[in-house]
Symmetry: C2
Subunit: 279 residues, 2 copies
């Protein structure tokens, strides 16, 4: 009896063919087991439920900004960031096989995808936009129904998986459209090539608290790549600050900076130390 | 011939009875002319189109976080913040006159309002949620149709304006639920009671740039109340930083801090200096 091959299971939010799936494959290759999860909530518990070994979550789009649901759920979980991957977002108009552009009446997709194709809709005012739960799922529905008046907006991977016909390519208003994802695991191990560090902190109610919190990094020439504040529920106008730093916990001066920060912040949690993705 | 009374015209996003309307009345009194605008885009051009003297825009909810659409449109406009107002958000279940709770099958409202009443929906699983464009507009529709199986979630003002029946009060999961609004005008004048300053800045690509930008304020004991980053379109992973400071441009040390910041940041724009709202 031969041993069944054990594939790494990677959970992502959305249906097969989603941009998240494209990101998972870019990061880990085609030889993984893809675990689609319908919601962000179900995505973040996939490891705990032993449905997946990894969770891949979107954290930022270069046009729309941070994905706050991911930040909030990451904070509630005890998962760690072990890698990052960035993919370009290319939106295509996809319909069932045999459909032609002139027949299309409705275009369905996730509201963010629809909003990123404003110029296309302005040029084709006859098309009615329909907001749906996700991009790839819209392609699945449009192909399944076989109605040649319906089209969806999604990535090329969705067209391939569901056998949809690409009627128009690259509908996005801005070519510089990228989404950044993080790979989450329950392990805290840090790769030797790690060069990026993410942390979340709560600050004391003192004048200059944020300036003081950034000082240990500024003093050592450690670059701050991103800062994000999220409200603390039940404590109006108080925030968690999320920091991305160009730093590795394999570096002694980073360890010292984190120790200094620990004395200045009310709470600090390192979310992960990993290799930065490239676009 | 008597002079017609000229009321101050205040534009807000949504329909009559919206939380924004409640905020406008809290800030300026009932003797204003309310100018409802269907979208954020149409709201921010209301002064330019001479449809309003002021624009009232939501900037933050204490649970959901910043209203990014407002930040992005404020940056694109040349408007200034002249005042701030904070209102508690209380969600009520509102139906047509004569309806009873046991008959209700569907509940419609803005997705954020629905999401803030999770506990209520968990306790009443028979109720189907329907996402709509806004809270008050949902009440208008429910009352107009007169269908006793339909209810909406909105503030008390919407129930009063459209003659809806309040079936359940205070559905919100968290009592500490507030929304913060800013009043925008084309004038740059600063009240003598101003104690809060909002600015937006772009930083140079240098290690420690944010730390250096906060230093002029930290050195003078000027408190940072909020920091928010928003992506710059077409420049992936570059950001505008929005700062709220406890400061007035009537104060010499604030002027000096701003001058110092001007030398450290690539761009600085003071969005307004005004009296902080209280909750």
């Amino acid at each position: 009896m031969s041993q069944p091959s054990v594939k790494t299971r990677v959970a992502f939010q959305g249906e097969r063919g989603a941009f998240s799936e494209e990101a998972a494959v870019k990061l880990l290759g085609e030889e993984i087991q893809l675990v689609p999860r319908p919601t962000f909530e179900s995505l973040f518990v996939a490891i705990n439920e032993d449905a997946a070994d990894y969770v891949l979550a979107p954290v930022e789009n270069s046009l729309a900004g941070s994905v706050h649901r991911s930040y909030d759920l990451l904070l509630e979980s005890s998962l760690h960031i072990s890698a990052e991957v960035i993919i370009p977002i290319r939106h295509h108009l996809i319909a069932c096989a045999g459909a032609s552009f002139d027949e299309i009446k409705t275009v369905e997709s996730h509201p963010v995808a629809l909003a990123q194709c404003e110029r296309f809709f302005a040029a084709h005012p006859q098309l009615q936009r329909i907001a749906t739960e996700d991009t790839a799922g819209s392609v699945a529905k449009v192909v399944e129904r076989g109605d040649p008046t319906r089209a969806a907006i999604a990535g090329i991977r969705a067209a391939k998986i569901y056998g949809g016909a690409v009627l128009r390519e690259n509908l996005e208003d801005h070519a510089e459209n990228y989404t950044r994802f993080v790979l989450l695991t329950s392990s805290t191990s840090v790769d030797s090539g790690a060069d990026k560090l993410s942390l979340v902190m709560k600050l004391p109610h003192k004048s200059g608290a944020l300036h003081r919190a950034l000082q240990p990094f500024a003093d050592r020439g450690i670059d701050l790549l991103k800062i994000e504040s999220r409200p603390i529920k039940g404590r109006p106008w108080e925030y968690h600050f999320y920091l991305d730093l160009q730093a590795s916990t394999n570096d002694e001066k980073v360890i010292k900076a984190l120790a200094e920060l620990g004395e200045r912040a009310a709470e600090v949690r390192v979310l992960g130390c990993y290799q930065a993705g490239s676009r």
